[in-house]
């Protein structure tokens, strides 16, 4: 089973690939990460710093999105 908590040192590209639902978070926050060529080099923490967002705040939002998406996934299978 996948962990549902992204690590701050994980690259943005890995995050987006593992949890596509989180694309919405980046778009909502007007971050240019989705589709960016540097997403595979930049960590979640670095992306947060680039946009002057506290890393914990961004992580929490991403975590919440992952949990919600997983729950929706489970209820669909039931």
């Amino acid at each position: 089973m996948k962990p549902d908590q992204p690590h701050p040192d994980q690259t943005v590209a890995e995050l987006l690939a593992n949890w596509p639902a989180t694309i919405a978070v980046f778009l909502r926050r007007r971050m240019a990460c989705v589709g960016c060529v540097m997403a595979r080099f930049e960590t979640l923490h670095e992306a947060a710093v680039s946009y002057h967002i506290p890393t914990d705040e961004l992580r929490a939002e991403i975590h919440a999105t992952i949990v919600t998406a997983a729950a929706a996934d489970v209820s669909e299978k039931e």
């Binding site: 240019a32 960016c36 060529v37 540097m38 080099f41 930049e42 670095e46 992306a47 680039s50 946009y51």
Partner: protein
């Protein structure tokens, strides 16, 4: 309606009339007609015959041009007592842009035949018009230069990002473009000169965006380089 004394007052301040004798100015003044237009109306539109030259007495006029993409590009905001539509000095000219009233406007106008007669009697008027046109031209040259520099920077930024995407490797300081790469190579890949690449890289280096040696480039602030390449909002 604008009173004669108000018209005199406006023309005295207008750069088009600078240096003219009081008598000449008076003649110009008497020859004007007055136009009022409501806010959000067009004084004239692009490609219309340029029948008259105006001096803005009151209000604010936006000069813009329609791009092929349908976008209105604003070129200038005209304030009193500046002239608008100087091109009407030329025979059979068309207005190269549109003039739109941002607020209710009052303007003094000379039609083309009147203006031609005035210029024949007062050649200084032509010199003043040339002055104004040169001023706008210099402004546009400056803007062109700035745009050009911007474009070159964006091209160089894109080249570096493309290379990073292909051969980039994460290092402690950022993303190393793992390839022996001279300034000349970068210049050729970005369609610019060695000199421009060197100058741009050293400025980026000062800003902490990249770190470079003679043959290697590290992108230290990837997001900022992407911002330059894609012209992202600051």
């Amino acid at each position: 309606m604008v009173s004669l004394s108000e018209r005199q007052h406006i023309l005295a301040a207008c750069p088009l009339c600078a240096g003219l004798t009081a008598a000449a100015r008076e003649e110009l003044c008497v020859a004007t007609t007055t136009h009022s237009i409501a806010a959000h109306a067009y004084l004239f539109s692009e490609d219309e015959p340029a029948n008259a030259c105006y001096v803005l007495a009151q209000g604010q006029v936006r000069l813009s041009k329609l791009a092929a993409t349908g976008e209105q590009v604003i070129l200038r905001i005209v304030q009193p007592p500046e002239p608008v539509g100087i091109i009407a000095v030329l025979p059979q000219a068309v207005y190269p842009l549109s003039a739109y009233a941002l607020r209710p406007c009052t303007l003094l106008a000379w039609d083309h035949p009147t203006l031609t007669g005035l210029i024949e009697r007062h050649p200084l008027l032509a010199v003043r018009a040339l002055h104004l046109v040169s001023g706008r031209f210099i402004e546009l040259q400056q803007q062109y230069l700035e745009r050009n520099v911007e474009r070159v920077e964006r091209r160089l930024a894109r080249t570096l990002l493309r290379l990073a995407n292909q051969v980039g490797r994460r290092v402690p300081d950022g993303v190393l473009i793992d390839l022996p790469l001279s300034r000349q190579d970068l210049a050729e890949m970005s369609g610019t000169t060695l000199y421009t690449v060197s100058r741009t890289l050293s400025r980026w280096e000062q800003d902490g965006i990249v770190a470079s040696t003679r043959t290697q480039v590290v992108i230290c602030a990837p997001h900022r380089l992407v911002s330059i390449a894609d012209d992202l909002p600051k």
